[in-house]
């Protein structure tokens, strides 16, 4: 399988801030890869390094085998990008914006005309193609910016929060389009998003970054399975107060929540469930049901980030 993106030991500092801290990453071609992390984690910096816009202080990167530090132009010729800002020329019309980028990527005119029409119709923007983009809503601009990113059919597309500002229908349509790009056209999509449900649905693989450190890489299912905590719902005939209190200090239990008589126990480790059940039975509880909760991707993400913060705390 071709590797679209390769990073080894990537470091990038900005004065006293380490934006990327020895990041190792490998993204195979033809998938949607989600890059997740809190604000300021280093997501945008990595994209800039991969596009050859920013030089790393250490480490190496390859985009389809090309070093963006040495030959950024070659990398950019094979990529499309929707970055932090939509980057549209608001004095130009939608059609003029796309036509400019079509010329920038040297798409032959007949092909450009057809491609622009296809994209604008597909996004429901065709009727308004002659309007200045400055008069559009944020969601419409975002759709047009995505169209611009994929206009020249690049094999790799960077999308920085593409569904931000879109209404639910538009978001759903765009997600379908992103999925189709990877599935049917073999485009590699490098996606950053704060919408974890979107990431879980779209991404074959995700990376989680926090303060420049890559915490985990894997499929959403793998990350859920690796989750450092698990949750079990325990129903008992009654909960003696002393048992309830002791649960809160049990070494295997991280948190206890009462849900209408059922206790929702967050454990430090998924394997702690049998030990906990033995403890509860040993304390005379009449257990009615012990039901593991399916770990959510969001919880796995939050656990990763919190564990990283906890590891850093003095």
């Amino acid at each position: 399988m071709t590797t679209a993106i390769l990073a080894r030991g990537l470091v990038r500092d900005f004065k006293t801030v380490r934006a990327l801290d020895h990041v190792d990453l490998e993204v195979p071609a033809g998938i949607v890869f989600g890059f997740l992390g809190p604000n300021g984690a280093g997501k945008t910096t990595l994209i800039r390094v991969l596009l050859g816009l920013v030089t790393p202080n250490a480490g190496e990167t390859r985009v389809f085998g090309v070093d963006p530090t040495r030959d950024g132009a070659a990398v950019r010729a094979r990529t499309g990008a929707l970055l932090e800002h939509h980057g549209l020329y608001e004095r130009l019309t939608a059609e003029q914006n796309l036509a400019f980028h079509a010329r920038a990527w040297r798409i032959p005119r007949p092909e450009a005309v057809a491609r622009i029409a296809e994209l604008l119709r597909g996004l429901g923007l065709w009727e308004r193609r002659g309007e200045r983009v400055g008069t559009w809503s944020r969601g419409m601009k975002q759709k047009l910016a995505v169209a611009r990113a994929v206009l020249h059919r690049p094999p790799l597309v960077f999308l920085d929060e593409p569904t931000a500002g879109l209404d639910p229908v538009a978001s759903a349509t765009l997600r379908d389009d992103i999925e189709r790009l990877a599935r049917d056209e073999g485009v590699t999509v490098f996606l950053t998003t704060h919408n974890l449900q979107e990431a879980e649905r779209l991404c074959a693989s995700v990376g989680v970054i926090r303060r420049g450190t890559l915490l985990a890489v894997g499929s959403p299912a793998d990350l859920r399975a690796q989750r450092s905590t698990s949750v079990v719902r325990v129903q008992a005939r009654s909960w003696p107060p002393e048992v309830r209190a002791a649960l809160g200090t049990h070494p295997a239990v991280r948190a206890v929540a009462d849900d209408a008589g059922t206790l929702r126990l967050t454990l430090h480790h998924p394997d702690a469930t049998p030990e906990l059940v033995r403890w509860l039975v040993g304390h005379g509880l009449d257990l009615e049901a012990v039901t593991p909760e399916r770990a959510s991707f969001e919880q796995a993400f939050l656990d990763l980030v919190r564990d990283a913060d906890g590891a850093r705390a003095p």
């Binding site: 816009l53 132009a73 990008a81 800002h85 400019f100």
Partner: protein, 245 residues
């Protein structure tokens, strides 16, 4: 490279023309300028308007003023409107982006000057007769080169300033300071030469004639403009510009 240059020039011109086409949003000011420079002033000055030596200062100065409004927006404006990073993430080379903007500004300067010159010539011809406005081809060629030289000088300086400022307003302010310096420097240098050398220069100028002076001035302005533009292109640095965005 030529294709990429044309791509940038075309985009810049569409944005310039959009500005003028919106009458209520400032497009009327262009019409006013044309009426003033192309009709009112020629009528006031009379037949001499077309052939006075003052033309050799008047048109380059005008061109420089108008070109500066375009070129100071060239990079600072893209940064302010958050389009710079996307532009730099495209496959367009640095040189095409920057030279395209300079060429667009120079062409704007030419278009502005020639439009007003043409309208003025028509005005004076209609009012005072065709014989009053004869201008030799030599003089016309020197005038064209002065217009181009001043546009390129201002474009090069404006680009260098625009690269280093966060907003268009800052670029215009800084540019004004540099332009003042560029204007005062030759005068200061002349004053520092002393009376003997000044007299020699005046004598040379009187002997050489206005066309020769104009030709030399255009060569110097073109040279300095080309150096400034080349320096800006070499020092561009995508990474620095992206991080400043």
């Amino acid at each position: 490279m030529i294709t990429d240059l044309w791509t940038v020039i075309r985009k810049e011109w569409i944005e310039i023309l959009d500005q003028f086409s919106r009458f209520k949003r400032g497009g009327w000011s262009v019409l006013l300028v044309i009426l003033f420079l192309g009709v009112f002033v020629p009528l006031q000055i009379g037949p001499e308007w077309a052939v006075t030596p003052a033309m050799f200062f008047y048109w380059p100065f005008l061109t420089a003023s108008m070109t500066s409004t375009i070129v100071t927006d060239s990079v600072a404006g893209e940064r302010e409107r958050h389009t710079l990073e996307t532009l730099l993430a495209s496959r367009l080379p640095d040189a095409a982006i920057l030279l395209g903007k300079v060429i667009a500004a120079v062409l704007y300067g030419y278009a502005f000057a020639l439009t007003n010159l043409a309208i003025g010539m028509i005005t004076v011809t209609v009012r005072f007769g065709e014989a009053a406005v004869y201008m030799s081809w030599t003089r016309f060629a020197v005038l064209l080169s002065l217009i181009g030289g001043s546009a390129l000088l201002v474009s090069g300086l404006g680009l260098a300033v625009s690269l280093r400022t966060a907003t268009v307003r800052q670029a215009q302010q800084l540019f004004g300071v540099f332009l003042l310096g560029a204007t005062m420097l030759p005068l200061a240098a002349l004053a520092a030469l002393g009376e003997t050398r000044q007299a020699a220069i005046v004598a040379w100028a009187q002997q050489a004639g206005i066309e020769a002076i104009g030709a030399w001035a255009s060569v110097i302005m073109t040279g300095v403009g080309a150096v400034l533009t080349g320096w800006a292109v070499l020092r561009f640095g995508r990474g620095t510009r992206v991080l400043e965005d």
